[in-house]
Subunit: 303 residues, 2 copies
């Protein structure tokens, strides 16, 4: 099936383009971006022009930043195309609900993708936890913003989400593997003096679930979820790539290798089944944290 990519930046080049190229299900038939392009693929800078000149492309995948994404998604949906959204699916919850309504009315599929739900052991962790009694859980998601977002000031602008840009990956994995939903009881958000979004956050959920997000970690990076149950401790590391039960490696390798190849396989399934998958629970937790969190000022941050 032909697919178009909109927003040819770092994440498109690192993940989307190679995943589509490696898939038997997809053919990259066009790109649309202000500056980026992919060798050998028709390149557009105007979305409407691309949609009009390529009625043969039924699916559009959007990998631009969250703030401009709504307008592009809206135009693709109204042009009758199925749409896959990078995470987070929008800059606001309300616009995501609006997109879902539009997609239903237009009869197209919409997929809010959450790549961290596709860590190699995420399914195994969910399955192992399904019948366990959980006593507590802790998420540690600490990385170096200078390494992953070099010079990308937009992550600290309003709507850029700050440390919740990686943190929402943890929350997407958490909401996948925990057998019962939790909600936030309190949060502390650390705002650099010169920035509009937090650089660190500590979250305290119901049911003994807590999270520690920090964007100032140099050296080894940490993307871990630990879950203590009455039947032992589950430890997911490297964003769900590895899993241990009481210190012993567990879980099988999935048939497809890599988070993004699995996302594109899911999108192919959704289109084949005419289904929409628009789970907003990770974004809801982020919005809850901004609404409920205590703001603490910390040192100014410069790239």
């Amino acid at each position: 099936m032909k697919i178009a990519l909109v927003g040819i930046g770092k994440i498109a080049r690192d993940q989307h383009v190679p995943s589509i190229a490696a898939s038997n299900a997809w053919e990259l038939a066009a790109t649309c971006s202000r500056a980026g392009r992919v060798d050998g693929v028709p390149a557009f800078t105007d979305l409407d022009e691309m949609l009009e000149s390529h009625p043969d492309i039924p699916v559009v995948s959007l990998c631009l930043p969250p703030v401009p994404r709504f307008e592009f998604a809206k135009r693709a949906i109204l042009a009758g195309r199925h749409v896959m959204l990078e995470k987070p699916p929008g800059a606001t919850l309300s616009e995501c609900h609006a997109l879902e309504d539009m997609a239903r009315k237009a009869g197209v599929c919409l997929f809010a993708s959450w790549h961290s739900r596709e860590g190699a052991r995420a399914d195994a962790a969910r399955d192992w936890l399904a019948d366990k009694v959980i006593t507590r859980a802790h998420i540690t998601w600490r990385e170096d913003v200078r390494k992953w977002h070099p010079g990308q000031d937009w992550v600290f602008d309003p709507g850029g989400m700050g440390v919740f840009d990686p943190g929402i990956n943890a929350l997407s994995l958490m909401t996948k593997i925990l057998p019962q939903p939790v909600h936030l009881k309190s949060a502390t958000l650390e705002f650099p003096d010169n920035r509009q979004t937090p650089i660190a956050a500590q979250l305290d959920f119901t049911d003994g679930v807590s999270a520690d997000f920090d964007w100032r970690q140099t050296g080894p990076q940490t993307w871990d979820i630990e879950v203590w149950t009455e039947a032992g401790k589950l430890h997911l590391t490297d964003g769900g790539e590895h899993m241990m039960i009481d210190g012993v490696p567990a879980g099988q390798d999935p048939s497809l290798i890599g988070e993004y190849p699995r996302l594109y396989a899911q999108m192919a399934d959704l289109v084949a089944q005419s289904k929409t998958d628009m789970d907003l629970s990770p974004l809801r937790h982020v919005a809850d944290a901004f609404m409920l969190g205590r703001r603490v000022p910390v040192d100014a941050f410069h790239f």
Copy 2:
């Protein structure tokens, strides 16, 4: 039908107790509150004790502040009671979704009440706008926090929502009367230096809709929505009590007088029809504003 009131504070005394007393549908059969009570009505301080000793009370109305509300709602639902929630229905969106799930599983009704949707001309405004082409709209919601929340520091604590405590009333009215949903494009939130929630906010929605919330207005108070359409201008004043079309008074008086009597009549209908009404769109807009808004520091605020 027997009903219990939980949280006997200012809003309960000012609105809930007289509305129940004036209704033929309801009988106030118990109260539960740390300190407050109502003359002649059995008073409890422990919710579980009240629920156990009064299996004859099928409905519980919660009018305590948003942060503790979830635990009370959960216990009432799990005890098989229908629950009516003061606005906002919770401190987080995720807990509201959790309550909705619980209520569905328990087979009870849940009502997220929004009293400003019951302004005397709110239905008339919605009906008049239903077939109009809207060119722009502006909300002005300016009141004096010292008058309406004297000494209530919790409104400035995390989760207290600040100026969105009244602002969510405007948003509940907006989401009722506009024929198409809008979403936030940008927002400015004015945080007093010594407080955790904003004292003023300017919101810029799609479709030319904007809002100006301010809690520092002394003298006359303003709760207005103006909507410009191709067929004239609608002006709702006093929180929906009065309405003008191009400057001419319009709209009939509703059969029941007062926002809260109309809410309790709706709750009676929901219970009779075994329905839930849990529209979270006003709270979603508030969460979106906290997530997307630009924070601006302003002078410290002291009651």
